[in-house]
Symmetry: C2
Subunit: 201 residues, 2 copies
DNA sequence: GGCTAACTGAAATACGTGTTCCACTTGACG
DNA sequence: CGTCAAGTGGAACACGTATTTCAGTTAGCC
């Protein structure tokens, strides 16, 4: 996950020169980017980021190689705890409740960072893509478990359910007005729709 | 809905000068734009549109005033038949089936024109906004009717249901792999989730 | 403290893309 | 046909924004 510039072994031989202010600035830039992402500002420019971080534009680009690489790093870092949350959910005893709770969490996350879904599609973000894949995997696991538990209908393929849930959480979050109460309504509809059906045409 | 330049009454007095090639070019540009929207190209530039239409860039901008106005006109025109389809659905006898059919249609539409949802958010498109409002209204009507028919649960506000359905169809369509069969699965889940519930926690 | 290379930031540059200019063409009307 | 304003297209321009340059600054090591 580390960026690993030209150095071969990070801190093995004392030859490495890595200045403290550079490290600090890197954190500042990353923090500023995350903040701007959370604020959902339409203007996610290098200039805005550098101003927020209190550094020059060159520093922003130089530290990460390019703007895209910076976004990639920032988003991947934001996604990580969500993936972890999903893994934790896998350990909860009640499969359905675990899935339900996870869904609410994902909606809350996407509510905050909805701007991501809007603009990130057209970028090439390796680290972010990896985290999204991880998120997808853990989601599939949660669904499969709930399914084995008899909480989810089996006439629809599990992967289809994954896509459905993934897109729906994104969509619901996108409709700004995502109060906890609304989220609950949405999750309710989805979970009920996914339940093994008693009567269907 | 017509653009109505400087002329007061279209064809009343013979004073109006409106050249045939200008009208033809207008159609070409509009058609090219619609085609590009359907193709979901990432590059919806004036240059691409003009090339596709076989006219100069100036013509594209001059005819509509600006790129945004052109997009607005094109999208509004694409949306119109969908709104009409919704109004037709209101006349169908079975409220639930009418809603269901309309949803499938909307998903199909958004599947084709998913690119719209991605980029149009940040533009100012009066005509498109009007059509979307109309679409929303007819959707709400369809839902209300299905609800009055006892096909939809009443513990969730109708407008919330509208938002949910609107966003979900958009989201589902966005996940490119929207084959008719998949659409059916999605609609199935939503409709079942919306049905008056027999058992819920 | 002094030396040096890593690091910095403001300004210059590169670039994609929407809009305007303008010399030229063409449809409409007599 | 002849006239001429509406219309045209490609080039120039405007503009926002990512990236690079470079003269200066500073952390790290002696």
């Amino acid at each position: 996950m580390e960026w690993a510039f030209q150095m071969s072994t990070p801190a093995a031989s004392g030859v490495t020169r890595r200045r403290a202010d550079a490290v600090r600035n890197r954190q500042r830039v990353l923090g500023a980017t995350k903040t701007l992402l959370a604020e959902g500002r339409a203007t996610l420019t290098v200039d805005a980021i550098s101003r927020k971080a209190g550094v020059g534009t060159a520093t922003v680009v130089r530290t990460f190689g390019s703007k895209e690489a910076l976004i990639d790093a920032a988003v991947a870092e934001l996604l990580e705890p969500l993936v972890q949350r999903g893994r934790d959910a896998l350990l909860e005893p009640d499969a359905e409740q675990a899935l339900r709770g996870f869904l609410v969490e994902v909606i809350a996350f996407q509510s905050t960072y909805w701007i991501m879904g809007e603009r990130l599609g057209e970028m090439d973000l390796p680290a972010t893509t990896a985290q999204r894949a991880a998120l997808n995997t853990v989601g599939l696991d949660l669904i499969t478990r709930a399914r084995d538990d008899g909480a989810i209908r089996t006439d629809i393929d599990a992967s289809v359910v994954t896509v459905l849930i993934g897109e729906v959480t994104y969509a619901v979050a996108r409709s700004q007005s995502a109060s906890p109460a609304l989220s609950e309504s949405y999750v309710s509809v989805i979970m009920d729709g996914l339940r093994p059906q008693q009567s269907r045409p």
